[in-house]
């Protein structure tokens, strides 16, 4: 059903008041950010699953944007949700607001005008873009302007090399986090532990997803200022990394869920210079 932002804000206020103890004062809102998620149709299921594990960790306002540009009606449809999570039997609560908006018809072309009135003032804005980035598209440009940090998962990109090469265009406009890069973190630490034996590295062998292998290759090459050849074996997650036949041994760690990975990115604020360097140095000719 068509709605308006004013209507959604009113519903949120009512939900917040209704969540208070009978006769008690209204709940205080202790937000730390606004989290916008741009979720095209084919990513809805994955995004919803990630969000389910995220809400109780970050007291925030989450704005889920579901673009429906092919819808014949030019309307906004949406719902609001207000949830408080009590943790570990303690007298502490984390409260989150979730605003789900379907941008139908031409409303999908102007997402910034929809989210700007809903941003929590003076707090950082994180933009999670599901799927490939539509470089040059107006929707992306608009949301990049209102957000402080763009979070992508380059593993979701079908054309890894071309998309990585274009990603650098955004670096001077917005800080970028890449969840695929975050997955390489403990492997990078393990390779770092091989220093200085790998100072003259020339071959990197990775068994894992192609995007993570590419990122490790470009990182190692950029850091060492050398050409590093990649030998890649496909696998669902990174299983092996060797530099000139020296195996990297990461610290033990449980498999991180998609919520964990996104959650970690929501705690970063500055630019990731080393990531930017790795992406900038990336060249489609390198193999």
């Amino acid at each position: 059903m068509a709605t308006s932002l004013r209507e959604l804000e009113r519903e949120l206020t009512e939900l917040r008041a209704a969540s208070a103890d009978p006769g008690g004062p209204p709940r205080m809102r202790a937000s730390v950010m606004t989290h916008i998620a741009w979720v095209p149709e084919q990513w809805v299921e994955a995004a919803t699953g990630t969000l389910a594990g995220l809400a109780e960790r970050h007291p925030s306002r989450t704005i889920l944007l579901f673009p429906r540009p092919d819808d014949p009606q030019d309307v906004l449809e949406g719902e609001v949700d207000f949830r408080c999570f009590v943790r570990g039997g303690e007298q502490r609560e984390v409260c989150s607001e979730v605003i789900s908006l379907r941008l139908c018809g031409r409303r999908a072309a102007a997402p910034a005008s929809v989210v700007t009135p809903l941003l929590v003032s003076d707090l950082p804005v994180f933009l999670r873009w599901r799927g490939p980035l539509p470089f040059g598209a107006s929707e992306l440009d608009q949301l990049v302007e209102v957000a402080d940090r763009l979070i992508v998962d380059s593993r979701e990109w079908p054309d890894a090399r071309a998309d990585l090469a274009r990603l650098a265009e955004l670096f001077d406009r917005i800080a970028v986090s890449d969840i695929a890069w975050a997955r390489t973190q403990r492997w990078r630490a393990a390779v770092s532990d091989l220093w200085p034996d790998v100072a003259e590295a020339s071959v990197l062998k990775v068994a894992g997803p192609f995007m993570e292998a590419l990122l490790l290759q470009s990182w190692l090459g950029a850091r060492l200022r050398r050409d590093v050849r990649l030998e890649h074996q496909p696998a669902g997650e990174i299983e092996l990394v060797e530099v000139d036949s020296r195996a990297a041994h990461p610290t033990r760690r449980d498999a991180a869920t998609s919520s964990d990975l996104l959650s970690d990115q929501l705690e970063l604020f500055g630019r990731e210079r080393i990531y930017e360097e790795a992406v900038r140095s990336f060249s489609p000719q390198q193999t």
Binding site: M28, A30, V32, E56, R57, H58, P59, R87, G88, E90, Q91, R92, E93, V94, C95, Q185, R186, R188, A189, V191, S192, W195, P196, V198, A199, L220, R223, L224, T251, R252, R253, S263, L268, E272, R273, I274, Y275
Partner: protein, 503 residues
């Protein structure tokens, strides 16, 4: 001879990973004691749970209890199940258990060949590289013999660190003697005197609150602050520690360490950085400048029978291990001054006690009233001075009391609280103080530990407050369990036209 210069590691840059501690062997003296079971082992489990310890480490428990490694592990497993803040996971426990060992010995074995041989063996089997941490979770009388024995048996290879629990002495003279003894064998930077309050997130947050927010520091002084109240209240009694407590009392147990550290953190000047020496230099300046104006400004009390949460509880003198005519104080309140440019004439009121109505540790910064509110006197009835309240436990956070207009006709003013609770803004559970402190020690960071000169300044002040008590016999008990302390504590503030915070 030419030195080999290793180039900085370019691969380490940008890795947002905390540097892991170097390999180590941690020896806990007093391994069968309450502290080990309730705090140390759960803290070590939590550190393993989060992958914060290196692969190469070993923990060696030492106590007089007759037990084999397996029996000790089973005890510690139960301790972790009972007291850890994290869920119990068998795989995590196994990582800890396979590095956990036990030696039956008393303190005289501290420097013995048998213990040294066991540690050398762990160097071989667990790669602990000769790095030693000794945790003295033992009664104060055992400190001296252990420190001497360990000092005489120091190894040439690897580093050595010594963690010491409070109380560090019983007065200034004994505190100095202990410092001298420890310094005979260990450098000051090898000594980690634990005051677990400093490991609490909220205590550290006070430094962030003060020095990372531009709005507080300009008004954090005598011009804007009327006074400061620090409360460390417990609803528990002596809980089976009657023997120890009857020799110690609230002044030595809480005021000498936790409370004076809280005053120092509240009153200190901004350090030039957050390194150990810079922070401790500023704290010690405050401790040197602190005094109490006289015996009338220190109140003591001892609880009698009363009620806690509706249940009757015995008086202190009826507790196990306590002398029936004990004159040990279970409550202390005092007015302190910090004689410096920032705080001259601004009182710091402190109070601590057992069997008070609830468990609470707070620092309340009470600001001066608005100089001339342009409202009718009746309208201001609900208005109290602004108070910045720092909750240290149990509900960690900060709240600010401000005056606000009650909606409706005319002007009626009420005080409302704006609360920031830690658990409501950050997703991570707060680490236990011992987790933070043990990890800091393993990393060689002494910022949150107490330095020798701090301990001595604290004892000097406590000695000055205790001296008049040697002359005057108290009329104990003088407050009922479940109340906020003796009448003399209320009188202490009433004389200044003030009162303790309402609860």
């Amino acid at each position: 001879m030419t030195e080999t210069v290793v180039a900085p590691n370019p691969l380490a840059e940008g890795l947002r990973m905390r540097r892991p501690p170097e390999p180590f062997a941690l020896t806990i003296f007093g391994a069968s004691g309450d502290l080990t079971q309730r705090k140390l082992m759960p803290a070590l489990y939590s550190l393993v749970f989060r992958g914060l310890l290196p692969d190469a480490f070993a923990i060696l428990g030492v106590s007089r209890m007759e037990a084999a490694d397996d029996v000790f592990r089973e005890h510690m497993r139960q301790a972790v199940i009972d007291h850890s803040r994290d869920e119990f996971r068998e795989d995590v426990w196994q990582q800890l258990a396979e590095r956990l060992f036990f030696v039956t010995a008393d303190v005289s074995a501290a420097g013995s060949e048998a213990l040294a041989a066991r540690l050398d063996e762990l160097d071989e089997t667990h790669g602990t590289s000769g790095n030693r941490v000794y945790y003295l979770a033992v009664p104060p009388k055992a400190f001296g013999p252990i420190v001497t024995a360990l000092g005489n048996a120091r190894k040439a290879s690897g580093w050595t660190r010594l963690i010491v629990e409070k109380p560090f002495g019983t007065d200034l003279a004994t505190g100095r003697q202990l410092n001298e003894l420890v310094h005979r064998y260990f450098e000051e930077q090898e000594i980690y005197r634990i005051d677990h309050y400093l490991g609490k997130e909220t205590v550290q947050n006070m430094l962030v609150l003060r020095f990372a927010n531009g709005i507080f520091e300009p008004i954090w002084n005598r011009q804007f602050i009327d006074h400061v109240q620090i409360t460390v209240a417990e609803s528990l009694g002596v809980e089976g520690r009657g023997d120890f407590y009857d020799e110690t009392g609230a002044m030595r147990d809480v005021v000498q360490n936790h409370m004076l550290q809280l005053v120092a953190l509240t009153a200190m000047e901004p350090p030039i950085d957050f390194e150990a020496e810079a922070v401790r230099n500023e704290k010690v300046k405050v401790l040197k400048a602190m005094h109490t104006p006289g015996p009338k400004h220190v109140a003591r009390g001892q609880y009698g029978t009363g009620f806690i949460e509706g249940a009757p509880v015995p008086g202190y003198r009826e507790e196990d291990g306590v002398a029936p005519d004990s004159e040990t104080e279970t409550y202390v309140a005092a007015k302190l001054y910090v004689d410096n440019w920032r705080w001259a004439d601004t009182p710091f009121y402190i109070r601590t006690g057992k069997r008070l109505p609830r468990r609470e540790t707070t620092i309340a910064i009470q600001f001066k009233r608005a100089p001339h509110p342009p409202f009718e006197v009746d309208d201001e009835e609900g208005l109290r001075p602004n108070v910045l309240l720092i909750h240290i436990q149990p509900d960690e956070g900060v709240s600010l009391a401000v005056g606000a207009k009650v909606p409706g006709q005319g002007v009626s003013i009420r005080t409302v609280h704006m609360d920031f609770l830690y658990g409501g803004a950050f997703r991570v559970g707060l680490p236990e103080a011992y987790e933070r402190l043990i990890l800091d020690c393993l990393l060689g960071d002494a910022t949150l530990f107490t330095r020798a000169d701090e301990v001595e300044e604290q004892w000097a002040l406590v000695d000055a407050m205790l001296a008049p008590w040697q002359r005057d016999r108290p009329h104990f008990p003088n407050y009922a369990a479940g109340t906020w302390g003796p009448h003399s504590a209320d009188e202490l503030l009433r004389r200044d036209g003030r009162s303790w915070r309402r609860h």
